[in-house]
């Protein structure tokens, strides 16, 4: 059988085989989109709580190949 003529960009092939979000996930996201926007107090409370999580949970350093002082660690 002859091979197809022409080339598809590798990234296009790659996109085609990505498994899309499940209906369950899409439904959940739609429900979240329909929720009222948060108040500024809710945003601040959540972000403050997020910053206070234990340091070990934030730590990327242990698997940075290039050392512990990289920005983002």
């Amino acid at each position: 059988m002859a091979k197809p003529v022409g080339k598809m960009a590798p990234e296009m092939k790659s996109i085609d085989r990505i498994i899309p979000a499940s209906k369950e996930l899409l439904d959940m996201m739609e429900q979240l989109r329909q929720m009222p926007p948060p108040t500024s107090e809710q945003v601040e409370t959540q972000l403050r709580a997020s910053e206070e999580i234990p340091e070990k949970d934030k730590d990327r350093q242990r698997y940075f190949r290039s050392g512990p002082n990289k920005p983002g660690a």
Partner: protein, 176 residues
């Protein structure tokens, strides 16, 4: 955020002083009018982290960053928009996404066990040789890195990944 170009119609930079946080990869802002979170890649000229060999490194190109955004939308059904590219020699990419309100704002993140359940449910398996926060989905070769609790929000409807580093495994750079 005051200077942006290539901004889509309707894009409005967040108000001055609304910057809320600076993570390892982004400056983060919230627009109170839209309830959307704006992220600007940081530092200027850098486009986040990328998995290389067995770890994360700086040095993702704009392609990898945009691919990561696209994969987040495709795989998890998120609504991340590319909003702008800042001008200058060291540009940043600005994206926006909905602010996901945690079910409990005082404890916004899921536990490790809940993350594992979520990732496995969506076809991912842990990658033992990539720290302890890497996952791969063999069916399509997608890698999900940096899966720490802080990068998920536990909402009243379920768990939402907000800041994973997704890569197509075929595009992952070799060990350097």
């Amino acid at each position: 955020m005051g200077q942006t170009n290539r901004a889509p119609k309707g894009f409005r930079p967040p108000p001055a002083g609304s910057k809320l946080a600076q993570g390892g990869e982004h400056d983060v802002f919230v627009d109170p009018d839209t309830g959307r979170v704006y992220k600007r890649t940081y530092p200027p000229g850098a486009f986040g982290l990328i998995g290389v060999g067995r770890g994360l490194e700086e040095g993702a190109t704009p392609y990898f960053y945009l691919r990561r955004v696209d994969l987040m939308n495709r795989i998890f059904g998120l609504n991340i928009r590319v909003e702008a590219v800042t001008p200058g020699d060291k540009p940043s990419i600005v994206t926006s996404e909905p602010f996901h309100q945690a079910a409990d704002p005082l404890h916004p993140h899921p536990s490790d066990e809940e993350i594992e359940q979520f990732m496995r449910k969506h076809g991912f398996e842990p990658v033992s040789n990539f720290g302890d926060r890497g996952w791969v989905r063999k069916a399509d070769g997608v890698m999900a890195l940096d899966a720490f609790p802080k990068n998920f929000i536990k909402t009243s409807k379920g768990i939402v990944p907000v800041d994973l580093i997704l890569q197509d495994g075929r595009e992952t750079l070799p060990d350097r």
